[in-house]
Amino acid sequence: MIDDLERAIEAMLFASDEPLDARQVANRLGDEMTPGEVRAIIQTIAARHDGSGIELVERGGHWHFQTPADLAHLLRRERDDPRKLSRAAAEVLAIVAYHEPVSRAEIEAIRGVQTSKGTLDVLMEAEWIAPAGRREVPGRPLIYKTTDAFLQHFGLTSRKDLPGIEDLRAAGLLDPVDLAFEEAMGELDLVKDGEEA
């Protein structure tokens, strides 16, 4: 059986919105207890919780309950939050991969549009690109290259595995959208004529 006074002090420390010192506890009990007596009881409570998932700790003479530091990882759970890479980021990543090492200015020249710092940040957060020193030109701009994590994610053994321009053309990836559209329409016409015949 736990002593009533001990229970009371324990409940008080538990429910308090700020750490309490021995004097505050004694005041709230309204008893003629000395802070020393209160402290002794608090130490009994702390000892009882020792090694459990709850600990009673002293900070500058004030006591409060907390969870042990070694269990902090349980209180902060990490969860994957998958996000689709934006079109702009995919373009920048591809440019870095095909032209590395490149500076931001060079990426912009190739893309033909301004590239926000955020786009590079996203790619660095994904650990697909990394800074690779500075270009020895006026302004010494930072240059970027792809990482091993990049190769791994896209299933490439090395950058040499990236298809060349001619491969891309052959795969239709360099076809303007409107030509590809006409071809598709031409095929449709053929089918229709065939059906009529």
């Binding site: 209180l75 994957d80 939050d81 689709k84 995919a90 373009e91 990543l93 591809a94 490439l156």
Partner: protein, 257 residues
């Protein structure tokens, strides 16, 4: 009717003052059923033993007293009218044909009062339980369990390559490549038609003069150029043209020399 300032949590101690409250106003009641229940409690018997007739009289007397002093809300008056009817039915000799019988009406009223009383008591017992913030307390500032989202970016190799393709397209010097279309030229059609018209004696449809291996766009081009060729030959007086009506098949044959 709702949201009375009356503090229900103090209601048990206030209940003894109900007798005085009876003299004051109707605001203390949650409607006529509530007033009836309070009056029934005054009989100090189990609700199952209650005298409905006595209760009716109490209610009617109370409302009459109220009306002398102030305006009484309609629902209290409706109940009063109904109870007056019940009272007379209970007192008059029983008419066995009357449906429902006054006894049944009285029973229904009694059942309703029992149910309201049960819920009223349940509410009091509920509010008297150990409640958080009044009787039991939680940790004031728990650490809280947090969930940290780890952003994981996703893209496929296809996304990557097609993005590069679009970059290349956008920025490469634009070269217009007009694709070759399959066409039958007017000259070719003329030549073809001239050759065939010689062997054709009777009227024949224009489409009969087209080579059968022309398909798709090529065939459509052949129709167009053959039509022009036919017009040209007709102009030269070398063939005759015939069409029954607009959009009908066009017939042609060699002109009589």
């Amino acid at each position: 009717m709702d949201e009375l300032p009356l503090d229900f949590e103090l209601a048990p101690s206030a209940a003894t003052e109900r007798e005085d409250a009876l003299q004051l106003s109707l605001d203390s009641w949650e409607g006529p059923l509530d007033l009836l229940l309070t009056l029934a409690r005054g009989q100090k018997v189990d609700l199952r033993q209650i005298s409905i007739l006595q209760l009716v009289e109490q209610y009617l007397a109370f409302i009459a007293e109220m009306r002398a002093k102030l305006e009484v809300a309609a629902d209290y008056l409706v109940m009063a009218a109904w109870l007056a009817y019940l009272k007379s039915a209970l007192l008059l000799p029983k008419d066995p044909l009357e449906e429902p019988s006054p006894d049944e009406l009285a029973l229904r009223l009694q059942l309703r009062l029992q149910r309201l009383a049960a819920m009223r008591e349940a509410a009091a017992r509920l509010l008297a339980r150990d409640r958080i913030g009044r009787d039991v307390f939680l940790r004031a500032k728990p650490e809280g369990l947090r969930e940290v989202k780890l952003r994981r970016w996703d893209a496929s190799l296809y996304d990557l390559l097609s993005a590069y393709g679009q970059v290349k397209l956008r920025t490469e010097p634009v070269v217009h490549m007009v694709s070759r279309r399959p066409v039958v030229t007017l000259d070719a059609a003329l030549h073809h038609l001239e050759r065939l018209i010689g062997v054709q004696l009777d009227w024949a449809e224009l489409s009969d003069f087209l080579p059968s291996d022309y398909q798709g766009p090529l065939r459509r081009s052949a129709i167009a150029s053959s039509f022009l060729a036919a017009l040209e030959l007709a102009r030269q007086g070398r063939i005759d043209l015939k069409q029954d009506a607009a959009f009908e098949p066009l017939y042609l044959k060699a002109a009589k020399a």
